[in-house]
């Protein structure tokens, strides 16, 4: 007979361990690879058509680093910094500094932690978004990756404040990022190469917001149970 309390615990995750974070990074790498063509096509429409190729090259390098990593320490912060540094040195373009900064800044509040709580994840997202904004100087509505990340972070925060489980909060976060991604379609780009198109950038989904949605979706899916 299944104990009710135990089922509750299983479906309502309260924390994420080092190995779970590794699984999330691996899941993101797999999603980037699976969506490489789509990301590249979205970028070809309004940018320079290399986002999928570049991100896939970077995440492949990250997988190589994970395979070779000495994870005795189980330091989640150090892990995310390594991911970020690897992306900075392998992606190039604008995606390298932006995703590199995102992971590195997410790692800062998680330094020395082998297990993180929901509020740690929120702090990580908050730090990551602030880093991306400082690097890219984009504001919400400029048709960039932060148009997915900020709604994702805000939804996570409201869900946690509202007392929802971590699992549910992660789902809300990913869904909000997905909505933010779709909401970039009518926007006129104000940053990056897409901004050269002016009004002609409207009607296309932003590739950076699309990959950022994949990132938060991977967290919700990987940590669902």
């Amino acid at each position: 007979m299944v104990d009710v309390a135990e089922t509750e615990t299983a479906s309502r995750r309260m924390s994420v361990a080092y190995d779970d974070v590794v699984s999330w990074v691996r899941a993101f790498a797999a999603d980037v690879s699976a969506n490489k063509e789509q990301l590249t096509e979205l970028d070809a429409a309004i940018g320079d058509g290399d986002h999928g190729i570049n991100m896939d090259r970077g995440m492949s390098a990250v997988l190589g680093k994970l395979d070779a990593a000495d994870d005795e320490q189980k330091d989640i912060g150090a892990l995310l910094k390594t991911v970020g540094m690897t992306l900075v040195s392998t992606v190039g373009g604008a995606g390298g500094p932006l995703y590199g900064t995102l992971f590195m800044q997410m790692g800062t509040p998680l330094g020395g932690k082998a297990v993180i709580q929901p509020e740690d994840w929120l702090a990580a997202l908050d730090g990551g978004v602030a880093g991306v904004q400082a690097r890219g100087k984009a504001e919400p509505g400029d048709k960039t990756m932060i148009d997915a990340l900020i709604p994702g972070r805000d939804a996570l925060q409201s869900a946690l404040v509202g007392g929802e489980s971590f699992t549910d909060a992660l789902r809300r976060s990913a869904d909000a990022a997905g909505q933010g991604m779709r909401d970039t379609i009518p926007l006129v780009a104000k940053k990056g190469r897409a901004s050269y198109l002016g009004e002609r950038s409207a009607g296309h989904q932003d590739p950076g917001a699309t990959s950022s949605h994949l990132l938060l979706e991977a967290a919700a899916e990987t940590w669902a149970a």
């Binding site: 070809a44 570049n54 900075v88 392998t90 373009g93 990056g192």
Partner: protein
């Protein structure tokens, strides 16, 4: 796709191997991270000049490494910005104690990667200044865009600043000079055909047999207008007029006229463009006192050209005339 390559993924590496083999007297090439470094770097007491950008614009930037021009160039993947670790290695390799100038073309990725590199270099106590080149008048410069793109003025800035660094000028002086070149130069380009990025394998954009794109960027970014192909004189008017009006260039000005080939256009056509440009400038009382004609900042096999005008003064003219010895640009005193 028809290209003289082996495998698309090896294009940059094999190009660099070729450059290393061909130009061993001028440069050494470091792989992973990729940097082309002047053979005698670091030159003690001289400001180091570093530039970089996506590959596919050859001879820029790697072909401009050598005496009187760049000390190092960072080649990215084709049309993709290089990464901060390349730029940091380049900066360290050329720092002769007088600091290092980063010459950055205004593209979002290039600017962010060079920013990160400058932060890293600062952490290693190397003094770095960065100047962003943004001379392309085809793009509106406003709060609502990433700003004008960096194109032809980059080549002129690298030559002129290289000469100034060779004279022993300070980092702040060379940076100021670089800003002066950028402030006095304007460019615009056009395409007759698209380019094909090797990894993509298909044309970046579609253009009809009888069409041209005015205001094209060096990565095949859309321009101002697509229209039927016209005679050279008319095309020159479409490119030169916005350039002249933007600065503005005025009657009595002396200029360096740079007619650049995009990669797929033969010199015979570039000289026709130059001839039309000369006549147009003559009519406006603007005198060409220096010129540069040829493929120097290219866009793979794109056919087309760009025009850059730089308003000259005695200082810029002297520095332009100073000796330079690189694979892409070479003259004696």
């Amino acid at each position: 796709m028809k290209k003289l390559i082996n495998k698309p993924e090896d294009v940059v590496t094999e190009e660099l191997q070729g450059i290393a083999a061909a130009n061993a007297d001028l440069v050494r090439v470091q792989f992973n991270p990729n940097v082309i470094i002047r053979a005698d770097a670091p030159v003690q007491g001289k400001v180091g000049l570093v530039s970089g950008g996506g590959s596919g614009h050859e001879p820029m930037h790697g072909g401009f490494v050598g005496l009187g021009m760049l000390d190092a160039a960072c080649p990215g993947e084709v049309f993709t910005s290089p990464t901060p670790d390349q730029m940091l290695d380049a900066t360290k390799a050329v720092d002769g104690g007088a600091g290092v100038l980063h010459i950055v073309k205004n593209y979002t990725g290039d600017v962010m990667n060079f920013d990160m590199a400058a932060e890293l270099a600062g952490g290693e106590n190397i003094q770095v200044e960065a100047v962003v080149i943004d001379d392309d008048v085809a793009v509106q410069d406003s709060l609502y865009t990433a700003g004008r793109r960096g194109v032809g003025a980059t080549v002129l800035a690298e030559k002129i600043c290289g000469a100034a660094a060779e004279e022993g000028r300070s980092l702040s002086d060379v940076a100021e000079l670089c800003r002066k070149v950028n402030a006095n130069a304007r460019s615009m380009g056009m395409a007759l055909t698209s380019c094909i990025v090797p990894a993509a394998g298909k044309p970046t954009f579609e253009l009809g047999d009888d069409e041209m794109e005015i205001g094209i960027g060096i990565h095949g970014e859309p321009g101002r207008e697509r229209m039927k192909v016209e005679p050279s004189a008319k095309i020159v008017e479409r490119l030169a007029t916005p350039i002249i009006e933007d600065l503005p260039f005025e009657q009595g000005d002396e200029v360096l006229a740079f007619v650049n080939g995009m990669g797929g256009t033969p010199l015979i056509e570039l000289y026709i463009v130059y001839n039309d440009l000369r006549k147009l400038l003559d009519d406006r009382g603007i005198t060409i006192t220096r010129n540069l004609i040829g493929p120097y900042i290219t866009s793979l096999e794109m056919a087309g050209c760009s025009i850059t005008l730089l308003k000259l003064d005695p200082e810029l003219t002297l520095l332009w005339d100073a000796p330079v010895k690189t694979a892409g640009l070479r003259w004696a005193a």
